[in-house]
Homo-oligomer: 109 residues x 10
């Protein structure tokens, strides 16, 4: 994830990003999982660069990872790269076994 300068860092404003094309693998079965990832953050000195964010999210494509793990790891990587004033990440996963799961984590606690 790369960043670009935020020219309005003295103002608290919100950027909301929606990425409906997240896919990874189920670590148990190896079968594909699909989710929409949303990122809502208040930038500090840096903005996330959108193309690098897309590349970062696409890198999960062939990785086995649980739903809760994926959302928490994206949160930690985003905080490390962008150091926002605050951020909330949500993963809305496609139905599996009749169950729809959504995971939401935020920073700071």
């Amino acid at each position: 994830m790369e960043t670009i300068e935020n020219n309005y860092k003295e103002r608290d404003y919100e950027v909301h990003i929606r990425f409906p094309e997240f896919t990874c693998l189920c670590p148990k079965t190896g079968q594909p999982d699909f989710a929409e990832i949303t990122i809502r953050y208040t930038p500090d000195a840096r903005l996330v660069e959108l193309k690098s964010l897309k590349m970062y999210l696409n890198a999960y494509r062939n990785e086995g990872i649980f739903h809760e793990e994926a959302v928490n790891r994206i949160l930690e990587d985003f905080v490390a790269a962008v150091t926002p004033k605050q951020v909330e990440i949500t993963g809305t996963f496609n139905v599996r076994g009749g169950i729809y799961t959504t995971v939401t984590a935020s920073y700071p606690p």
Copy 2:
């Protein structure tokens, strides 16, 4: 209901589960009832394992139980098995006699 370890228990995050395929029997008439069950919880040390949750909910299939009773019993079983920081359970039942009923219970009070 089985559980798996929560690797991010120091962080308060939310898991939202939606199960549209809940069915039980009306204790008066023996006829089928249908509902969508949603579970929204903040995990502590354990996460609910989704396949075992599905099995648990499917076990109501041939049991006679009232709407209010079903939601409260699922809440108590979930708290006993997963010991979340907090949890809210909702049952949205199909129309019966022209009436739509939704029951919502949460823990801690």
Copy 3:
């Protein structure tokens, strides 16, 4: 309106009832009025029995009553019969003369 015992009265939980088939008469013209009645309540010792609730609401069918009057009277009858911890009643009436009216009343004040 009859009631049944609430086995979970020590817990504050919510029951939401939606009845789209309410009809009464306009006291001025005698013409039919139609509404959806919703009841959202936190039960105390008693739950409303759904079939008797339906019978109670159907009894307005041939009665002339204004919108505001209907919702307030249902509220008073519900409180008298069920003595909930709290309750909110809404009547969403069909369009008349190009105007859509919704009335909402709750207890305790």
Copy 4:
């Protein structure tokens, strides 16, 4: 049902009427039934007068009648009163016992 003159009877055009407030009684249980009635017709010499149509449909309010019977009887009364070039009547009834029923009949055969 009363009628008014159709000033454009030499032209085949269509009038579509939707009445979402039809209610009658179930002939078995005496409980209320609800439906949306739609009438799509090509007028000949006469148009149906809308207020008298509403009065006609409201007259079913306290009458016990089956779904299929209601739609066919409305069709026959409409044909007798308006003598349209053609007409199709549909009744879309509210759910009863988990079943939604729609009945459609038309004239001429």
Copy 5:
């Protein structure tokens, strides 16, 4: 209604116009009526000029006219002014007395 030249009259193509802001008066009560007018036509040598069409439709604002009459008269005026290869006019009127009415007429028969 004014017209402009159709540069593609040798090709049969379709223009669909939707005007949700039609209003006139009920000839019985003097109260306002509202409708969405749609015009679907295949132009011949001329296209309708849109601003003049709007002016034409706005001219009904304080005129008393029945639903069926309005749609048929718009059809006749449109055919006289634009002489299309074919045209269909629909008026979808707002609910009055619980009844929704739509009228559709077309040319040539």
Copy 6:
């Protein structure tokens, strides 16, 4: 605007009125404007009589008035006629020049 007695004035309840058929004229161009007016109020001793409210709103039909002016004037007239405990008026105007405008004003400040 006329009023009728509120039989439940000791209880704070809400009446929500929606009127999708508001029309006036643009004071600059004389062209028609259209809006949906909503009124949400908590009655004190009086309720607004719905037919007179409709007549009041219809009286704007041929009057030139700006969007912000219309909503504020309706608010002042409503407060003067009904003296509610509180009221909020919203006008949602149709698109003009690619811009959709909504104005919301309330009493007491």
Copy 7:
């Protein structure tokens, strides 16, 4: 499935029945399957009695059966019991393994 007399058998009209609460078991895994069954038929001498139809469909609740098998068997049983002029049965099954399946069969061929 029981039937009642069709008083309008000389007229070809259509009855459309929708039953969103069909459930059976997967013959491979024993896990529950869910579907919405729709039946669209033109009655001959007999109409299906709705309560008995519901009982018939509920009888699949604990039976293992494939999607294609279920729809074809319901079709054959319906034809045998009701002998309609024509009938079309559709089963719209809930997602399994990321796949949504709908099966439609009709009589006569």
Copy 8:
């Protein structure tokens, strides 16, 4: 507009393209117009290359052109470049002066 080879030209199949970001200028006022362009075609020996199609459509951005003209010109350019077996082009334009316009043209006639 560039093209690429169609490897399945012996089979009649359909490609449907939707481009919601078309914009041009009104030739009268110079103000921007907006539309969604859809292209539905059966390819012969060539397929349209999507990036060049986008460039072609973007080239209208600062050009003054009427609605009917734009759709017919896109049709002619598409036929010239791609020589499809058949093609239908639709332009759904944003509201102007309260009027929504859609133009549809196809080839061969």
Copy 9:
């Protein structure tokens, strides 16, 4: 793709399959593409086995292929494996460069 026996092959009925989780790679950029694949077929002697169909579609995950190519190849593989009486395949692809593409092919021609 494996198949199972069709017990009702003498009857022409339709099976409609929807798979919203198709993903492949763009052969130019290597970036992921996403689509919903639908298959509508009339079975002859064999039905497609759903789990093997899912495995077949998932095998495109890391393969570079154009939209038109993907749909035509799935059609050919389906016909070879299932030999249906008829089949239609549609791929509805996610937006790329502001353009939404849908491809539909069927057999027999």
Copy 10:
């Protein structure tokens, strides 16, 4: 951006403006970007004049500017021209590279 007098400045009321036709250029690629801009403000002594607002927003048409930059600059220009009591500006941008971005900024901080 021009302004007109606010006749009700002593009252805190809200004006909500929605402009779905904002377009600018990507400063990296020169390709068009599209967004819906919403402005929600509480006027002080002045109201924004809508036609001049439209002209102001249309002036971005051929300017290269990033999403975050555009929303913040519109905010600053609006505050400078209208000096509202408060204002919130949102830009909802069309998908680019599979990512949907929304930016929201407000004044005072």
